[in-house]
């Protein structure tokens, strides 16, 4: 991936400014059609879902009271994992987006909702709704691109540090909620500042995160295990909560990776969004997201982020309506010759991980490596890793030339 304006085959070069504004008008019309029919049915959906989720959580926790018995542990842990996933994805994420604010129900409102996550809702709303959704896939502006610790684009200069990024990514997946909390705090940036110079704002936010983490951990790892104590299930209940949290974390991390990482998703330069019109903003959302195809259960469990494209176009429409507008959105992509990136869950997860691995290596390295030249390539990589900046740059230039030549050869052969 290369930022869109640097690509030789810019995927929007064929669109005139009029086309782009027309796309905006047509998307606004789709949005309006949902607003016009938004009502009782939708309200019933979210209320029912919240009801089911809470009962599932209560039921699972009740079963876990006897989690010393393996069948109870399995059932309870599975139920709790599903409950936690629903709570975070289809319920929490979407309520915090303001998707249900129109109901004017103070209990189901973006300004009052709090979720089962390390990061407090208010901090997440800022970094996610304001930054990520506004600056989607703008390199340097959207921290979701790699959550600040990864190389997600060819244009980012390679550094040996990134060799470990597949590992970072795996660890981040397991403890995703803490990763998000750290990212919402801009922890990396703030920790570099000497303690006494850190802003009051940061200190307050960090205190809020600590309180939140303490509360969540007390609940999962102390209070509920204590309730299981009478059956001798303290440790097993603690383990069940830990597993459910990890399952939830890995799942949401995977879904989110599928939303912006798979091949075919575009990134943008900071310059390219200056003075952006509504139509241009829409087009950036169209090209910056990817969907996951699948059945109803997948859509529900992903919080309908399987309709990431629709979600990014209409972040404030109720999630239960994305499936319905998806065919219209896809038709619009086709009409304007744009690439609607979608694929099955395994395919998109693979694609996203492949990219993480590819970009952990210098540009062109993976493309020029074959089983035959592997030892030579590894030696080159070793030199780039241990050598100075000059060595890296020289070898990088050679890699890129080789990659280009290999590509040309393939083109000729075909």
């Amino acid at each position: 991936m290369t930022t869109i304006t640097k690509k030789p085959d810019n995927p929007i070069a064929h669109l005139t400014p009029e086309d782009i504004e027309q796309i905006g008008i047509e998307l606004d019309a789709i949005r309006q059609s949902v607003l016009d029919t938004r009502g009782e049915r939708d309200a019933a959906y979210i209320r029912k879902l919240i009801d089911v989720q809470r009962k599932l959580e209560l039921g699972s926790r009740a079963v876990l009271l006897a989690s010393i018995f393996p069948p109870a542990w399995i059932v309870g842990t599975a139920g709790l994992s599903v409950a936690k996933i629903l709570e975070n994805m289809e319920i929490g994420h979407n309520i915090l987006h303001g998707q249900w604010d129109w109901m004017r129900d103070p209990k189901i409102h973006s300004t009052t909702w709090e979720w089962d996550m390390a990061t407090p809702a208010s901090a997440w709303k800022h970094s996610h709704n304001e930054l990520h959704h506004t600056y989607t896939n703008v390199v340097g502006k959207d921290n979701d691109l790699g959550y600040g610790i990864m190389r997600v684009d060819e244009d980012q200069r390679w550094h040996p540090f990134f060799l470990a990024q597949p590992l970072w990514n795996a660890v981040n997946a397991c403890f995703f909620e803490y990763g998000i909390a750290a990212y919402d705090l801009e922890l990396g940036k703030n920790l570099k500042i000497p303690k006494e110079k850190r802003s009051e704002e940061f200190k307050a936010a960090a205190a809020a995160v600590r309180t939140k983490i303490r509360k969540q951990a007390t609940k999962d790892y102390l209070v509920h295990p204590l309730m299981s104590l009478p059956t001798g299930s303290f440790v097993t209940t603690l383990a069940a909560n830990f597993v459910a949290n990890v399952v939830r974390n890995v799942w949401s991390h995977s879904i989110i990776m599928c939303g912006h990482f798979p091949e075919g998703v575009e990134t943008f330069e900071r310059k390219s969004i200056e003075g952006e019109t509504r139509g241009e903003w829409y087009v950036r959302q169209m090209l910056g997201s990817a969907n996951i195809s699948g059945g109803k259960a997948l859509h529900l469990m992903s919080g309908n982020l399987s309709h990431q494209i629709e979600h990014h176009l209409f972040p404030d429409l109720p999630s239960n309506r994305y499936a319905e507008v998806a065919p219209q959105v896809q038709a619009l992509f086709e009409k304007y010759g744009l690439n609607y990136v979608t694929g099955s869950f395994p395919k998109q997860v693979y694609s996203a991980w492949h990219k993480v691995v590819r970009l952990s290596l210098p540009n062109g390295w993976l493309a020029t490596t074959t089983p035959k030249n592997a030892p030579m390539q590894l030696a080159k990589l070793y030199k780039m890793t241990t050598g100075g900046r000059k060595v890296r740059r020289a070898l990088q230039a050679r890699l890129e030339r080789d990659a280009r030549m290999a590509k040309d050869r393939m083109a000729k052969a075909a």
Binding site: D28, K215, Q216, D316
Partner: protein, 368 residues
């Protein structure tokens, strides 16, 4: 002590929710819950009016007849708050009732009259209002009740409390004589309605009249012509001996107020229509600090307020992040993206709006 500890433990177990959120799943009307009610039954009164009997939550503190309750119902998925007078005195079954007339183009009243179903949960506030009778134990005065249209509701609530009625609210035939004498009250009711079939509680008033409990003067616009308040004394010759309680549309109440003021007569009124917000283009936006910003109909309130130096919460400034949401306590705004109007007044309660995509559509007040 033990219960406090238990509560603390439950809170720790429920975070980030509160234990109430889980208890609500099973018993939303329990003591300690937010005040709610469940619709028990819906009885049509006329073609476009119905009485809703509601079982209030355990913490319902009771009411004095004549008072009203603010009720929050979800109409097309949107929580709407309106005020309705209570049309019973305290009942043995603990239920309360309201009687609603469907207003043409109304949001809530047509829903309550035609679409509400038994079993539906509604949100309540405690009863309130000072449209109530004085203490009758000492030397009860003579009363005149003037009711027009759905304005009959608080008066019916008072009458049902004064005289023996069945649970269904009609006068109990078995205790007719008791009704006549017990209270020893002298009550005249001037009841105004467009026509007899449209008259809410007309039959109840007639029954009370027949039982000798009240002296009913029914006035139907279609047969008697529109009531001229200045000729009220023709209908109620001893008008000047009575304390008047009146409830109905603004026009009638204004005329009555002028009339009584000229004669120096005591008057209590309950007005159903507090304010109607008429959306226009642009308007002043008032803040808690006392600052008032003049905003035109094309500028987001966020921008207008910021240019006037008000510190405003904001985020994306394009309607997607909900970082700019503030409660509007009064007024009307227009969604700049599609023209949709949102209004708020004392009866609807505060409505949260996104200031970055909302322009003033008349004078507004923001709680900020």
């Amino acid at each position: 002590m033990a219960t406090a500890l238990l509560r603390r433990f439950a809170e720790l177990a429920a975070t980030p929710l509160v234990p109430d959120d889980y208890l609500d799943l099973f018993n939303p009307l329990r003591p300690g819950a937010e005040l709610r009610g469940r619709i028990v039954s819906v009885h049509p009164e006329t073609a476009d009016a119905a009485t809703l009997v509601i079982k209030p939550g355990a913490d319902w503190a009771g009411h004095v007849p004549g008072q009203y309750v603010r009720i929050g119902v979800d109409v097309d998925g949107v929580r709407q708050w309106r005020a309705y007078s209570l049309t019973h005195g305290p009942r043995r079954d603990g239920h309360i009732s309201i009687t609603v007339k469907a207003v043409a183009d109304g949001t809530v009243s047509p829903y309550l009259v035609h679409r509400s179903r038994p079993g539906t949960l509604v949100h309540l506030e405690q009863a309130t209002g000072d449209f109530v009778l004085p203490d009758l134990d000492v030397d009860p005065p003579k009363f005149l009740f003037v009711t027009a249209g759905s304005g009959v509701t608080p008066v019916v609530g008072m009458l049902r409390n004064l005289f023996p009625v069945t649970e269904s609210g009609v006068i109990d035939p078995k205790s007719r004589s008791a009704a006549t004498n017990a209270a020893g009250l002298d009550i005249t009711v001037v009841h105004v309605a467009p026509s007899e079939p449209d008259s809410i509680f007309g039959a109840d008033l007639v029954a009370l009249h027949a039982a000798g409990a009240i002296n009913l003067v029914a006035r139907y616009d279609d047969t008697h012509g529109v009531l001229d308040i200045n000729r009220l004394v023709d209908l109620v010759p001893d008008l000047h001996e009575r304390i008047t309680y009146a409830c109905g549309p603004g026009g009638l109440l204004d005329a009555l107020a002028a009339h009584h003021e000229a004669l120096g007569l005591p008057l209590h009124v309950e007005q159903f229509k507090i304010s109607t917000v008429e959306p226009g283009a642009g308007g002043s936006v008032a803040f808690n600090s006392g600052v008032e910003v003049i905003a035109d109909g094309a500028t987001p309130i966020l921008t207008a307020a910021e240019s006037a130096g008000v510190l405003m919460p904001s985020g994306c400034r394009m309607g997607i992040c909900f970082g700019c949401v503030l409660p509007m306590t009064d007024g009307a705004v227009r969604d700049l993206r599609n023209g949709a109007i949102t209004t708020a007044d004392a009866m609807s309660g505060p409505v949260k709006i996104q200031t970055c995509i909302s322009a003033a559509a008349g004078p507004c007040r923001l709680d900020h």
